[in-house]
């Protein structure tokens, strides 16, 4: 069955079962591979993207929930790495292997839009993504730096 998804502002008509997890529709049908598969049960957060501005673990929700709502992936943050959150991530050399970082950035961005000056407790509560390289302390610093950069830009 074909349906339309609006991903990063562009309309994509995809021919897939709408019960397919949103992650696989984004990766295999829309063709954006920046969003990663890891645990497949919604725990690790590598597949995090935004549906209607909210951070969603896309491996564990059907694509049908995104029909008619804007979807944003890592590719939509900015293609050239100029968004303040990407600048902060680069400034602190935050990623190591980087596999979890697309989801990490999308989780952090959702938090920052909701709370422009998040506390460490806010970060602990909302950015619960797993990172096997253990970049957590740099992710925390990068979120605080991104908060400053986003406020300076606003």
């Amino acid at each position: 069955m074909a349906f339309d998804l609006v991903v990063n502002g562009a309309v994509h008509t995809v021919d897939a079962d709408p019960q397919t997890p949103l992650l696989w529709v984004i990766r295999d049908h829309v063709g954006l591979t920046g969003t990663k598969f890891s645990c497949g049960i919604g725990r690790c957060g590598a597949c995090t993207l935004h549906v209607d501005g909210r951070a969603i673990r896309s491996c564990s929700v059907p694509a049908a929930i995104a029909i008619g709502k804007p979807v944003a992936t890592i590719e939509g943050v900015s293609p050239d790495g100029t968004h303040p959150i990407q600048i902060a991530w680069k400034e602190l050399d935050t990623p190591q292997c980087g596999y979890c970082q697309s989801g990490m950035i999308m989780s952090a961005l959702a938090l920052l839009r909701q709370r422009p000056s998040p506390s460490d407790a806010d970060i602990d509560a909302q950015v619960t993504n797993a990172c096997r390289c253990s970049t957590y302390h740099r992710v925390r610093q990068a979120i605080h730096l991104a908060a400053d950069l986003m406020k300076a830009k606003a």
């Binding site: 920046g34 990663k36 598969f37 943050v77 790495g81 050399d93 697309s102």
Partner: protein, 337 residues
């Protein structure tokens, strides 16, 4: 339980097949357009040596024979080459070295006579210890083009440093020679810094980008005499630099093995016998044959232990489909005993 972290990670990775990072890419993968010059490609301007290509705009492509896994090897390898090449660091671009060329071509002779097994460079290149220099064996470094293409044992810097620095030095000397020949002056009157060559007596200058095509055709008469800097002369090595792999990782452009796409590619989902060393008795492909995207099922046997260093693995079944999720869904539905 006596198992160190490295063993744990590699064991878990082997068991799950999930923590996988690509090191070889087909040249026409869709992803290549996103990533520019990350995968080996034939250079538009001739290379100076197997590690170094200088474009007319002074962009320096440095071929990296190790896989970037977040350990920073793109950055550290490039820094070791750049230190000796004396090119502008901000214009350095990493690119994966060609495994094909490594298999086909021999290493330049001037990379071969480097000391190992903890020796200090008698020509002043210093310590820390260079690794094993036997050209055979598991720990040795072969004399194929890039000497060592594996990425393991925390050895990429200590094993590669000597010949990576030599590669940068050899290219620098040939750039200087090419400029000296062009200007008809002694090469001893030339200096190189930040991709600019200066003739001291006249003040005349040129850039690496303008001289590179000549350097590519200018052999060094005595490459075995080229030495690397002593540690107290380093200006780039030992400094803190931003990692060259990070910009692609914050835009989702880095291609991991799960992201590779080739035309007509199918996906397999795999289920191994849950009993250690166990095997499949039967499976019923007909029960899932008509599910969306399903192509076939393949049984794989218990591997011969003599082929996998005595380790015991299980037999299992794989389902092949148009997408991985289709394959996994069908596999989960298939009766297997």
């Amino acid at each position: 339980m006596d198992i160190n972290r490295r063993e744990f990670l590699s064991t878990v990775a082997a068991a799950q097949g999930a923590f996988v990072l690509g090191f070889w890419m087909p040249r026409n993968a869709n992803a290549q357009a996103l990533t520019g010059a990350v995968w080996y490609e034939e250079p538009a301007t001739p290379e100076i040596n197997a590690w170094i290509v200088v474009a007319p705009d002074d962009t320096v492509t440095i071929r990296i024979a190790q896989t970037e896994l977040g350990q920073g090897v793109w950055t550290s390898n490039a820094m070791m080459v750049c230190e000796e090449l004396q090119c502008e660091w901000a214009k350095v671009r990493p690119q994966y070295a060609s495994a094909n060329r490594d298999a086909r071509e021999k290493a330049p002779a001037w990379t071969l006579n480097v000391m190992g097994n903890g020796a200090t460079d008698p020509k002043g290149g210093g310590q820390p210890t260079f690794g094993n220099r036997d050209r055979t064996g598991v720990a040795g470094i072969p004399d194929s083009l890039y000497r060592r293409m594996r990425t393991n044992a925390a050895s990429s810097v200590k094993d590669g440093r000597y010949y990576l620095q030599l590669a940068g030095a050899e290219a620098r000397e040939r750039l200087l020679l090419a400029a000296a020949q062009l200007w008809n002056v002694p090469v001893s009157e030339l200096t190189a810094n930040n991709s600019v060559i200066t003739h001291g007596p006249s003040g005349r200058t040129t850039t690496y980008g303008r001289i590179a095509h000549r350097a590519a055709e200018t052999p060094h008469p005595h490459p075995e005499t080229i030495t690397i800097k002593s540690p107290d002369q380093w200006t780039l090595m030992g400094t803190e630099q931003h990692n060259l792999d990070v910009p692609m990782k914050v835009t989702g452009q880095t291609v991991y093995r799960i992201d590779v796409r080739v035309p007509g590619m199918k996906w397999a989902a795999v289920k191994a016998c849950p009993v250690y060393g166990g095997d499949v008795r039967s499976y019923d492909f007909d029960a899932i044959r008509t599910l969306p995207g399903v192509r076939s099922a393949v049984q794989f046997p218990i591997p011969d232990p003599s082929l996998c260093r005595g380790r015991v693995f299980s037999g299992g079944v794989a389902v092949v489909a148009d997408t991985w999720y289709q394959a996994k869904t069908a596999l989960d539905c298939m009766p297997i005993e």
